[in-house]
């Protein structure tokens, strides 16, 4: 009896020390607004009001604040990923953990929004040139067969097929799924991200550029520069699992070819500035931003190519590493990111000045029903 009393006392003391030290560490910890490892803004301290206390939103926000600013959060979350993936199924926060790579396993109810299809068809109707459309699979679409069977339903392939059939006939659809699937022994997708690597983007480029009416540049013309080998992408940010090797980011440059003469970015408020592509300053934060820098709704790239060919590229982040390959073919490339547009497309550019428009999106972006809200007048 005596022994157990002593051990109870020790338990009490240890637990009290443990709990209070984390309470104190959390309270006096320097509060960050942004988490680099998770690549997202952390919850702010909730604003107190009787109303928010009344409906319980205050406490929900306080719980989120506590979780986001808990002492050693990153370490705790990494530990969670390791514990969970050792203990049972290898799925942590909707991310499937394989020895080789992370995959998005949160594919339960994604469907392509009908609004996007309508908007695309409408855009084509009003447009004088030719519209090309490509949906790029995510890493789950290409490597999904390593997922447990009940999660891998081959949805992306089906989604793409149904998307292509429901688009207007005058839109030229370019399929990239098969080529990427065929090459999946190569480093075409990041291990810690859902997106394509530059190498994967090169094969997408080869497929697309032929449809756009050019001969693709051969692979050995490019000089490849490893920018970093510490890239951890969006899948890593969701689970902070350290067991998968970090990724390499490459930049391809065409030796002796055309160069960018002017690259200007335009903000939603009309301001514009000269932009530097492949800016290594961005390696401090979200490394993937290195390709295009700060996210802007519109970027105009002028090159030293002398063929008067102009391309309107409407894209999401999947295309960031793809743009470097287009420089050899167009004298002007207008890059529109509908995700970041707050104003109608005509505020930035008149599509009819461009004889070709290419839509390049990750298939998962097409679930966002507001994506193409502003691309029609």
């Amino acid at each position: 009896m005596k022994k157990s009393k002593l051990s109870d006392k020790i338990t009490a003391v240890l637990i009290i020390i443990f709990i209070f030290s984390f309470l104190i560490l959390t309270v006096f910890r320097e509060k960050k607004e942004y988490s680099l490892s998770e690549n997202r803004s952390l919850a702010p301290y909730p604003h107190f009001s009787v109303q928010s206390l009344e409906d319980g939103s205050y406490i929900r926000e306080l719980e989120a604040y506590m979780a986001d600013h808990f002492a050693y959060r990153d370490e705790w979350v990494s530990a969670k990923a390791s514990i969970e993936s050792d203990m049972c199924e290898k799925i942590v926060n909707g991310v499937y953990i394989d020895d080789e790579r992370l995959l998005n396993a949160d594919i339960s109810d994604c469907s392509i929004s009908a609004e996007n299809i309508t908007a695309l068809n409408k855009f084509t109707e009003d447009y004088s040139g030719t519209v090309y459309f490509t949906a790029v699979p995510t890493s789950t679409g290409v490597y999904g067969d390593i997922l447990p069977e009940y999660l891998f339903l081959d949805t992306e392939k089906n989604q793409m097929d149904s998307l292509y059939t429901s688009l207007d006939e005058s839109i030229r659809k370019i399929d990239t799924y098969n080529i990427l699937k065929m090459l999946n022994d190569n480093y075409i997708y990041y291990r810690n991200d859902t997106k394509l690597t530059s190498y994967g983007a090169y094969y997408v480029y080869r497929t697309i550029i032929q449809k756009l009416g050019f001969l693709p540049s051969s692979y050995d013309k490019y000089t490849i520069k490893h920018i970093t080998s510490d890239f951890r992408g969006n899948l890593y940010s969701r689970c902070l699992y350290n067991g998968v090797k970090p990724d390499i980011i490459d930049v391809y440059s065409y030796s002796g070819g055309a160069e960018i003469t002017n690259c200007t970015a335009y903000k939603n408020n009309g301001m514009s500035y000269r932009k530097k592509l492949n800016d290594t300053d961005f390696l401090e934060g979200d490394m993937y931003r290195m390709y295009l820098g700060e996210e802007e709704p519109f970027i105009r790239i002028k090159t030293s190519v002398n063929n008067e060919k102009k391309l309107l590229l409407i894209k999401d982040s999947y295309a960031d590493c793809f743009i470097q390959f287009l420089i050899q073919h167009y004298s002007e490339i207008a890059v529109i990111s509908p995700e970041h547009m707050e104003k109608n497309i005509s505020y930035f550019v008149d599509p009819n000045n461009y004889e070709q428009t290419l839509f390049l999106f990750g298939i998962d972006s097409m679930e966002n029903e507001k994506l193409f809200e502003l691309i029609n007048k």
């Binding site: 051990s7 443990f18 009344e54 409906d55 719980e63 506590m66 979780a67 979350v77 969670k80 203990m87």
Partner: protein, 457 residues
């Protein structure tokens, strides 16, 4: 705010404990009451308003029953009024009925724990009417009976008499606190590790078309559901009990390792002990007095279990679950003489409990019957690739959960007497408790809370 959240474990709990310890003995009750009110307010101010009105009405009803105690017939009026109010409230929030009462209340508002404190309140009123206890004069004491934060969320429920005795024998010191933390962490592990992973297994099984569910998967899924239910309910009860110990209240145990029993009767008597005994005390006992025959008593027994089933889940599924459990106990009694081997007993009890649980888990009666068909091999598929996958990743966990849902571990420690094992446990247990708390913290660190509660009770 649930007990299984960072804000509670690393915020509310240590701070309230600190305040409680430094308050002088005479003010402790008041402080605990204020802390409980803050706990309610932290869930939402609406919850606090609701609790105060609810407590006050029951307090008044109790007082009136006591004042009119000399006239039995007359004192029944406030009792029925009080019970009616409690029952209407539980129906309002747990079902779609009395929707007009909820007009000014946001739709997502749910007073978590209402099924528990309703039972406490009704029991209190009946006990006064039966003159087992006096009405409580002290509003704070009575308020603590319903609102005390260690028990308000699915915590242990006790009769008012027991509660008062706990108050008298109340003492908080360091070793008591150690026991409390150990129980709390045990409950937290049950919730965060066992229940949450078992829930993942259950949903993985359920993800496929019910017509294609293989035999093995169906059994795996139901085992996972049952363990998940057990670990969720007993996890919250343990967390509540543990916090109670930290504040010096010795709440009774809620579950006594029911899931793997040798008889259904043992399952029934060890499952959610206070809830089941509440229904026995206030529902079946009074009714049993009306008739002597064995048949009548068996009918009452089954009916009581139907009500318990409805308490867990207010629809036909809950009713069927309770009905089947009651029925199987009665049938077992009829064949009571039959001697069974221990292993056979465990297997048959397990099978019956799983088949009953199908009704508690399924979203509709027809789904449950389809699931039952899969469990009986009606889909003519024994196993598939998913089975292998699930077995690969969950077997170990299932075995561990099964082991800790039986009393094997406890018996090993208890029987060891003064041997070395006990000493090792004494040294080992403090470290283990801290270690497990750290594991749970890691597991809830991403969202800051483990919210899955399976049933809104």
């Amino acid at each position: 705010m649930l007990y299984s959240s960072l804000l509670f474990i690393y915020g509310f709990l240590p701070l309230s404990l600190l305040i409680y310890i430094i308050t002088p003995e005479s003010l402790k009750k008041t402080v605990l009451f204020i802390l409980s009110m803050i706990f309610c307010a932290l869930n939402s101010l609406k919850f606090l308003e609701f609790m105060i009105i609810y407590t006050f009405i029951n307090y008044i009803a109790g007082a009136f029953i006591w004042i009119l105690r000399e006239k039995k017939a007359l004192s029944a009026v406030p009792m029925f009024m009080g019970i009616l109010f409690d029952v209407v409230m539980i129906f309002t929030f747990r079902t779609e009925s009395f929707a007009f009462l909820k007009k000014n209340i946001p739709e997502e508002f749910f007073p978590l724990g209402i099924s528990f404190f309703t039972l406490s309140a009704i029991g209190y009123l009946i006990d006064i009417y039966k003159r087992r206890i006096r009405a409580e004069r002290n509003f704070i004491k009575f308020g603590l009976y319903l609102m005390m934060f260690p028990k308000i969320i699915m915590g242990p429920i006790v009769s008012y008499n027991t509660f008062k005795r706990m108050f008298k024998s109340h003492k908080s010191d360091l070793s008591e606190m150690g026991i409390g933390f150990t129980i709390f962490v045990k409950g937290l592990v049950k919730k965060v590790v066992a229940a949450d992973t078992m829930y993942m297994l259950y949903t993985a099984v359920k993800n496929v078309d019910i017509w294609k569910m293989p035999f093995i998967n169906a059994w795996l899924g139901m085992t996972a559901y049952m363990l998940c239910l057990y670990f969720t309910l007993s996890g919250f009860a343990d967390m509540g009990t543990g916090i109670g110990y930290c504040f010096g209240f010795r709440f009774p145990q809620s579950f006594n390792y029911p899931v793997f029993s040798t008889k259904i009767r043992n399952f029934v008597s060890n499952w959610h002990i206070q809830i089941v005994s509440w229904f026995r005390r206030y529902v079946s006992k009074p009714l049993c007095k009306l008739g002597e025959s064995r048949f009548y008593r068996n009918v009452i027994y089954i009916m009581t279990w139907c009500v318990i089933g409805l308490w867990y889940r207010f629809d036909a599924n809950g009713l069927l679950w309770g009905c089947f459990i009651g029925l199987s106990v009665v049938v077992e009694k009829l064949f009571g003489r039959t001697k069974l081997l221990k292993a056979t007993g465990i297997i048959y009890t397990y099978a019956v409990i799983m088949i009953c649980a199908v009704f508690l888990s399924g979203e509709s009666i027809s789904y449950s019957f389809n699931y039952l068909l899969a469990m009986l091999g009606g889909n003519k598929i024994f196993a598939d690739s998913l089975t292998l996958y699930l077995l690969k990743y969950y077997t170990l966990l299932l075995l561990i959960c099964t082991y800790f849902s039986t009393n094997l571990f406890r018996n090993m420690v208890m029987r060891s007497g003064k041997t070395k094992l006990r000493m090792i446990m004494g040294i080992f247990s403090p470290i283990m408790t801290v270690f497990l708390l750290a594991i749970c913290t890691a597991l809830i660190s991403y969202n800051g809370i483990s919210e899955m509660i399976l049933m809104k009770l």
